[in-house]
Assembly symmetry: C2
Homo-oligomer: 105 residues x 2
DNA sequence: TCGATGCATTCCCTTGCGGTTATATAACTC
DNA sequence: GAGTTATATAACCGCAAGGGAATGCATCGA
């Protein structure tokens, strides 16, 4: 799974993630919040789905979209290479945690 | 300063950051590593500069580019909203650290 | 069975971005 | 001062991505 920077570069898609952070939502709900056309929303949702950032649960004609955080965790891992540049005093602790936690893969 | 997702969406620009993570570099050096034309490299560097991700130090005709991590720290802050979704057992510790560290702003 | 609902897909248009070549600018060297 | 080196800017091109309107498809309710 490649890093989802390009997917997250789109403000509407970040807003979708913010909305899904609260709770799963229907496409119509998201469309209303975004101020986009329904097809526009569906297209963004497809991109998010293919990037693994959301998953769908179908219920009759309705589709509940919910968050899938795994790609964000990968983003976090990418950021980790740079974190020592600003994290300052927590640095030593973080390195210790990184070194001692179980390998997640 | 807006979140630099769109800036980081470009693979060559991420590679520049990776290279600058090791040490400051000249434009020519970066051009060679990237396999781009020199103007192409300069355009990416301009984008990175305007996003605050790099800074330049001029030395005669040469320009040393170096990393500026502040926008990455903002990205990290954005990610923090989602981190509880995957961080699992470290969660409580992280919340404790977030709550007790000095406010950086 | 038929209209309505909820969403996805298609088509089209426009804009922006990354790439290159050519050119400008500035400082060093001789 | 002339040529050279290092980088930036300008001009141009092609393509992909985001946006909307129209349409397709499935499921529900009556």
């Amino acid at each position: 799974m490649p890093l989802p920077f390009d997917v997250l570069a789109e403000p509407s898609r970040r807003k979708i993630l913010d909305l899904l952070l609260e709770r799963p939502r229907l496409v119509g709900e998201l469309t209303e919040q975004l101020g986009l056309s329904q097809p526009g929303t569906s297209k963004h949702l497809r991109v998010l789905r293919e990037a693994g950032l959301v998953r769908v649960r179908q219920e009759a004609q309705r589709r509940w979209y919910e968050l899938r955080p795994e790609p964000l965790a990968e983003l976090d891992a990418w950021l980790a290479h740079y974190r020592h540049l600003w994290s300052g005093s927590l640095d030593a602790l973080e390195r210790h945690l990184d070194a001692t936690e179980d390998d997640p893969r």
